[in-house]
């Protein structure tokens, strides 16, 4: 239950009392914004008094008489506009002309009711205004939260790029100072590490571009019929050199062809992220197995590795931005921490989801389920940010 402050401004004592009486025990139920509101009611007998009260402790809603002796309602409204206060005004008038209504709303009144007032009219106007106010405040809070998350993202990103850059710089300084003598071979290890860290930065930037592309919806998606089995075979082929180098055997079980409606690039990103993880986090001489099947409605894609596995606590946060599980077995593995978060975001576009089953030390299976014909609704979402 939320309590809002409501100020009744009228130079007629009778009207002030009847409005106060009508609203005193009025609890507004607002299921549309998931709130219940009651009012603390104050009253003022003139425009001047009203402005003093607003100054001392600003109300949320003002019921303002249009025609008062001294300062008029319209003048009060204009003053309030100048102060740009976070409140809404309902104009109350006996002269229900179009002209007064237009002038009031032009000056910033949110609603307009006419005397003589019935309690029902009054309550209905107050309800509508309250709903708008609460919704507006919630929306503002939400956009502040979004801003905060964005800044946090940029802060972490800055750190993730700065760290490898710092490492590369310090190696270069050592080389510049000929720290290991004149023989160029003495620097092979340092140069190798520079290249590895530079590659890590490149991967981070590539992932970031993927993520931005998905979230902004700027790039036009080409939803056409594609053969996922063929995309999977190509993606696995691309990982083969890296897998061979570490003695990891690869296998694929898929139907000859498996059609779905999708943007080929997006399905490629899902597969290449899961498969490269399957190599990266595998053990030497391990296995990487891909399974692909589907029914009328969905496609199921599973990538199983025999790697280091993930503990249940870590698995819960695995699909968030910049999450890299840090422990003894992962400390020499480079990654951007964005790959799985990208996979999850793309899967969402296809009305699908990603899950993981894993056993520490034994391996993990990542499963992605996608709709074969993503609904129009999901396709529409592309134009809007996903998160």
């Amino acid at each position: 239950m939320e309590t809002l402050r409501l100020l009744v401004v009228d130079d007629e004592a009778g009207i002030r009392h009847s409005i106060t009486r009508a609203l005193r025990s009025y609890d507004v139920q607002l299921p549309e914004v998931d709130t219940e509101v009651r009012f603390d009611i104050e009253s003022a007998s003139s425009g001047e008094e009203a402005l003093r009260l607003v100054e001392a402790s600003p109300p949320d809603i003002i019921l303002l008489d249009y025609k008062m002796s001294g300062m008029s309602g319209l003048e009060v409204l204009q003053k309030l506009q100048e102060q740009s206060r976070d409140l809404l005004v309902i104009m109350v008038t006996a002269f229900a002309t179009i002209e007064t209504a237009v002038r009031a709303t032009k000056s910033g009144a949110f609603d307009f009711i006419t005397k003589p007032l019935t309690p029902e009219e009054l309550k209905s106007a107050v309800r509508k205004t309250t709903c708008h106010l609460v919704a507006q405040r919630k929306a503002r809070k939400l956009s502040e939260e979004k801003r905060r998350i964005r800044f946090e993202f940029i802060r972490v990103l800055g750190h993730e790029l700065k760290a490898p850059l710092g490492v590369i710089e310090s190696y270069l300084k050592l080389v510049q100072n000929r720290i290991s003598g004149p023989e160029i071979a003495a620097y092979d290890e340092m140069v190798g590490r520079c290249l590895a860290r530079a590659e890590g930065m490149r991967k981070l930037i590539d992932d970031l571009l993927d993520l931005t592309r998905i979230e902004s919806g700027e790039k036009k998606r080409e939803l056409v019929s594609i053969d996922v089995a063929e995309v999977a075979r190509a993606a696995l082929e691309a990982q083969k050199p890296g897998a061979d180098q570490r003695g990891i055997s690869t296998s694929l079980r898929a139907p000859e062809a498996l059609e779905m409606v999708a943007d080929r690039g997006e399905i490629e990103i899902i597969l290449s992220n899961l498969l490269s993880n399957g190599v990266k986090y595998n053990r030497d001489g391990g296995q990487l197995h891909v399974e692909l099947d589907g029914d009328d409605r969905t496609i199921r894609l599973a990538v199983r590795d025999t790697g280091i596995g993930i503990g249940p606590d870590d698995a819960a946060k695995l699909f968030d931005d910049f999450v890299r599980i840090k422990n003894e077995s992962t400390r020499n593995i480079l990654g951007s921490g964005l790959g799985l978060s990208i996979v999850k975001k793309i899967a969402k576009l296809y009305g699908g989801k990603v899950s993981v089953q894993s056993e520490l030390g034994a391996g993990s299976t990542f499963t992605v389920v996608l709709e074969r014909r993503p609904a129009e609704a999901a396709a529409d979402q592309l134009a809007r940010p996903v998160a």
Partner: protein, 141 residues
């Protein structure tokens, strides 16, 4: 692995041995190169267990230990064990700034530091001149 010593710098006649324990490969590689260039022998280890194995094989003149190893307090327990075994072996503890690592574990108060019994503390990123100054101070006898 033991790096060959280049006899230069302040370790001309008795090349001193430094045990360098850190789980960050780049940090180890860079510091090792500089220490070797300054005339030290360097033994490095990336974990508490590896450091303990190296200590079974030889007795270094000084140890540089990162606070955060496999577990967030790995360096802390390693330092404690080194000192328990040989209180005269100087240990330099290195720790990253808390805000950078996002860890809530940090050792900042005098009391906490005295309990760990390290001989010197340095914050990452380390300036090598600063590290050398500490090493010189601790090896002067």
């Amino acid at each position: 692995m033991i790096q060959s010593d280049k006899t230069s710098g302040d370790a001309v006649n008795h090349p001193k041995t430094v045990l360098l324990v850190d789980d960050d490969l780049d940090y180890r590689t860079a510091i090792r190169a500089q220490l070797v260039s300054a005339g030290f022998q360097v033994i490095d280890a990336e974990s508490v267990s590896e450091a303990k194995a190296r200590l079974e094989e030889c007795r270094p003149d000084l140890a540089i230990v990162d606070l955060m190893l496999e577990e967030s307090d790995g360096g802390f327990s390693l330092c404690y064990q080194i000192k328990k075994r040989d209180a005269s072996l100087p240990v330099i503890m290195v720790s990253a700034v808390t805000s950078e690592t996002g860890l809530d574990f940090d050792v900042t108060t005098r009391e906490e530091r005295s309990w760990i019994r390290a001989d010197a503390w340095l914050a990452k990123p380390i300036r090598f001149e600063q590290l050398m100054a500490e090493i010189k101070k601790l090896l002067k006898d």
